[in-house]
Amino acid sequence: MSTKTITKWSCFVSLMLVVTLIHPLTASAAQEVGAEGAADPWWFWPLILFFFCFILGIIAVLAGVGGGVLYVPLVGGFFPFHIDFVRGAGLMVALAGALAAGPGLLRRNLASLRLALPVALIASSCAIVGAMLGLYLSKIDPNIVQVCLGATIVGIAILLLLSKNTEKPVVKTQDAIGLALGMHGAFLDQSTKERVDWKTHRTLPGLVLFIFIGVLAGMFGLGAGWANVPVLNLVMGAPLKISVATSKFLLSITDTSAAWIYMNKGCVIPLMAVPSIIGLMFGSFIGVKLLSMVKPKIIRYIVISVLLFAGLKAMDKGLGIGLLG
């Protein structure tokens, strides 16, 4: 199969996702369930969810985003599940993906423990606070969470559109905190066969930003790769490859703490969480195989559009306007 054919096929799959989401039948089916209880047999939604997450897994890899950031707004906006269960499942989805990717990144020394461990301690502690805050707000009025989630997703879409990551940021002098924590290292760039030495700067502002990232991840059940990478790369000055790999590894720690809060609260329903996790994992495998053959730029723009739409839909739902169905 030629690269052109696969790229076209990938765009088609992405467009199918968009069309499925905005199709009146999907929205009305979800609304029917919401209004009158389950109209379909019990296996209908888990089956749909499995295939939906399978496609989501392919697209997430091609677009370079985590599963959780797509899962929560899309499943929350277009499936009949309460936002509490969507966030619980979203964290498990993001966690499973991060755990599966972690070993390879650690073995290749791309995920840096020196960089990840201090950041993880801050983000995971704050994710617990975020999870508890999110569940508290949801108890008061789930629409508050929907509106805040929608605004965050729109913000993420804009961030993805505008952020220009730097392959190898220039860090002239390492700051005292970075130096004390030994936030430096080296890796072999496989594409150029060059040794790349790196160190961090602006460590304190970076660590402070992870407080907000942790809270957002816990509050909305999102994997926070969309925020980890720009902070590690643009603020702290870690090379892009180290930032991406460390971010993925970091999710396995941050999401663990928030996932436990949701799980202990009873927000993980196996009937919907397991097909979501398995579907997304299988989709990710296919996505990784396609990654070397496609030009992901178009997919990325489609995903940004889907995120914008999903964010606006969540805000619309939370505010009860009903403009987007």
């Binding site: 019990w42 309460h82 972690g102 650690l106 924590l181 436990w260 969480a273």
Partner: protein, 142 residues
């Protein structure tokens, strides 16, 4: 590149051990999840909450859902482990507990090389994750 520079490119032994445990644990968790889910949905093991009742109520908030379906929270699911739906929690808990387990190896590694800052960071992380897992943070641990 000299020997010292080559050494810099290699991950420390604890990092490799962490990766190996993560690899085995994550895939074991996913495999267990798939098997227990098939046992659950095929009806091989009866469920605590009927699947139709689940689908009729998953559009409600968590507190209301738990009340209607008479479902436990915190670690109380352990008492229902013989039920198909709660059997699924073995795989879910396995992947959620994996990081805590992996960190224990890092603690040993940093302790051995007397890296006090990272020893404190890793011990603190285990405490944070264990507190979250315990269910005592207002989530009704049982």
């Amino acid at each position: 590149m000299n020997e010292q520079q080559n050494q810099d490119l290699k991950p420390m032994p604890e990092q490799i051990r962490y990766a190996n445990i993560l690899f085995a644990g994550a895939w074991l968790g996913i495999l267990v999840m798939m098997i227990t889910y098939l046992m659950y949905v095929s009806g091989l093991i009866s469920a605590h909450v009927d699947m139709t009742l689940v689908t009729q109520n998953w559009n409600k908030g968590v507190d209301e859902y738990l009340k209607i379906t008479n479902s436990p929270h915190g670690w109380a699911w352990l008492s229902l482990i013989s039920k198909g739906d709660y059997l699924n929690f073995i795989g879910l808990v396995l992947i959620a507990v994996l990081t805590i387990f992996c960190y224990l190896f890092l603690i040993a590694g940093y302790g051995k090389r007397k890296d006090w800052a990272f020893l404190v960071i890793t011990i603190s992380e285990v405490v944070v994750l264990s507190v979250a897992a315990s269910g005592i943070l207002g989530t009704g641990g049982h």
